[in-house]
């Protein structure tokens, strides 16, 4: 038998198995729901231009900012009617995928 110390527990169908756990399994990210009002980058890129400012009221489908990614200037649209609550980014910022670009107070 292999060293016991690197063994963990894995529950499959109400049965707990003694086994090694893979790095992929132990480092998996828990599922998170999207937060309504959070506009986030769908791809890593650079903010080129902001088209609204804090306090502006915006409509569904309105252009909020331009994100340059993979040689494309992507126009990021609002998915909600509401008011721009905060803009944590500025032109020139390089952002990873999933970064919050803007927070909109929905309604």
């Amino acid at each position: 038998m292999e060293k016991q110390k690197d063994l963990g527990k894995l529950n499959i169908n109400y049965t707990e198995y003694t086994t090694r756990l893979s790095k992929k399994f132990t480092s998996r990210k828990p599922f998170k729901h999207e937060t309504p009002g959070h506009v986030s980058s769908f791809i890593p890129g650079t903010v080129v231009e902001l088209l609204v400012k804090e306090g502006d009221s915006v409509r569904y489908g309105q252009e909020l900012l331009v994100l340059d990614a993979m040689k494309m200037k992507n126009r990021i649209l609002s998915l909600w009617d509401g008011t721009v609550e905060s803009i944590p980014v500025k032109p020139g910022d390089k952002l990873p995928k999933g970064a919050v670009l803007m927070v909109i107070k929905v309604g």
């Binding site: 292999e2 894995l10 499959i12 169908n13 109400y14 086994t19 890593p44 990873p96």
Partner: protein
């Protein structure tokens, strides 16, 4: 000119061309811990068996002052030779000549040897060590890659194709290895990626070293792109030699029969599997306890370790083992292990290598990440590969065979030829705990002491279903056998299956869930 002078002239021309990029470039190559292209081929092939072709080929590119540059052999060595006496075709990119960059003539040399390998039905081994496309040759270089990819695809399943990454292999160049059967990498030498660290940094702002992005370890552990990991080039060549020795040279041949040697005594098959189905053991010990000489050449050892795949010999003939590994992630099927197993099954089927499946799994791995990563379509690959395979399929159920996992792991229902089960086998729709919780839910919930009732019901279910005899009573398994009878029965089954012949419906090709 007299003949001896002409011979001297030839020798001098050969010597010059074989120097590749020259002494300075060779020194640089050595400083990187790498051997030269010709040294590599000589180390890989049987002594004095290598014959080189197209030594004097040169490019005829004109743009960007290319006509002023001489690139000996256009940066790639091609030829034929033998490994363990078996003929093989090889090419090796020469990094000392223009960084092993791929121009039109370079690619034509590669495709020439590929065509040769296919026509002669012998294995092809490609050693990759190249900075990528020769930019000066423009679209001709892209054409070269395309011609190589096409041949990789057409030769797939006809001759074994082996890629050895002994240097950079970047951009489009990676797709030739990706289309081949087995990719060999060496620590600190192999580097494979589509876009390098610099581009990633510029475009995405992510910083990563070349080794962390596409080094040998990454491709063996994380991406699954590589199949064999070695610490040195020599170790890598030994791995290739051992593999070539086991493989039939083409899809019309069968594995040769070599002298039979029994397993080593140190692997006692009776003492490996713990009775408690929730406790782990190393399934490779079982493989070594039944295989000839206890030899096992594992494929993708470091990737998706919850399933074990690889080659051994049984009764002197090559077989492919597919085995759940209870030691890792309880041996579950998941996205990566399904993908790994399915491709291996198809490899064995393509080259007439009988499949031996060892089953001990609790089912599929639950989780949002698994579902969203497509465990449905990836899991389906295993069903597809086993169902489609017409080579002899032998199955041994060692312990747990629950639910969909039971069906997928070469069950009778997917046309396994022989299904054996050990007395420790539990062939059921799920484990006793899960099943009792569902079947006796009301009784358990309404009881005064639910825990006691649950325990009793679990025991009741265990006694009734956690065994091989229900499946045996339906003929879904052919025999319940003692562990110590396993090797004898497998050898017999392979002998009986020698002339197995099944006819599949006529079709162009199926549509597997890739």
């Amino acid at each position: 000119m007299p003949l001896d002078k002409k011979i001297d002239e030839l020798k001098e021309k050969r010597r010059k061309a074989q120097l590749g990029g020259g002494e300075e470039a060779i020194e640089k190559q050595k400083a990187m811990g790498k051997n030269t292209a010709r040294e590599r081929i000589l180390a890989l092939l049987d002594t004095d068996s290598f014959h080189e072709y197209d030594l004097f080929v040169e490019h005829d590119a004109r743009d960007f002052d290319m006509h002023k540059k001489s690139l000996p052999s256009d940066g790639v060595v091609i030829g034929t030779g033998t490994i363990h006496g078996k003929p093989v075709a090889v090419f090796a990119q020469d990094f000392t000549v223009a960084g092993g960059s791929l121009g039109l003539m370079h690619s034509r040399k590669i495709t020439k040897i590929m065509d040769h390998a296919l026509k002669m039905r012998i294995p092809l081994i490609g050693i990759n060590d190249s900075g990528g496309a020769r930019i000066q040759e423009g679209v001709n270089s892209l054409a070269g890659y395309g011609e190589i990819f096409f041949r990789n695809t057409i030769s797939s399943g006809v001759i074994p194709q082996i890629s050895v990454i002994l240097g950079p292999c970047a951009g489009g160049a990676v797709y030739s290895p990706a289309l081949t059967d087995f990719v060999f990498v060496v620590d600190n030498i192999s580097k494979m990626f589509i876009t390098g660290p610099e581009v990633i940094k510029t475009v995405l702002g992510e910083e990563i070293s070349m080794e962390d992005l596409g080094g040998a370890r990454v491709h063996c552990e994380t991406s699954g792109n590589a199949h064999f990991f070695a610490n040195t080039e020599d170790e890598c060549f030994d791995q290739i030699k051992a593999l070539i020795n086991l493989l039939p040279p083409n899809n019309e041949s069968r594995p040769e029969k070599v002298e039979i040697a029994g397993p080593k005594a140190e692997f006692d098959i009776n003492s490996i599997v713990p009775d408690d189905p929730t406790l782990p053991y190393d399934v490779k010990d079982i493989i070594r306890a039944v295989a000839d000489n206890s030899e096992f050449i594992e494929v993708q050892e470091m990737y998706a370790r919850n399933i074990v795949i690889g080659f051994s010999r049984l009764g002197g003939r090559t077989v492919g083992f597919v085995a759940n590994q209870p030691l890792e992630m309880a041996g579950v099927l998941d996205v990566d292990s399904s993908d790994k197993a399915a491709r291996f099954i198809r490899y064995c089927d393509a080259f007439n290598i009988p499949l031996v499946t060892l089953v001990d799994l609790p089912g599929y791995l639950p989780g949002v990440d698994q579902e969203h990563a497509g465990v449905i379509r990836h899991g389906a690959k295993v069903l597809y590969a086993y169902s489609e395979a017409t080579v002899p399929k032998l199955t041994v159920i060692l312990r747990k065979a629950y639910g969909g996992g039971y069906i997928a792991m070469s069950s009778r229902h997917l046309r396994a030829d022989f299904v054996f089960a050990w007395p420790t086998a539990e062939i059921a729709v799920m484990g006793p705990e899960g099943a009792a919780n569902i079947i006796f839910r009301r009784e358990i919930m309404s009881a005064e002491n639910p825990d006691e009732v649950r325990k009793a019901k679990v025991e009741e279910y265990k006694a009734k279903f956690a065994n091989p005899y229900v499946a045996a009573s339906r003929g879904y398994i052919d025999a319940v056998i003692e562990p110590s009878e396993t090797r004898k029965l497998l050898l017999h089954a392979i002998e009986v299956s020698e002339n197995k012949d099944v006819t599949m419906p006529r079709k162009k090709h199926g549509i597997p869930p890739f």
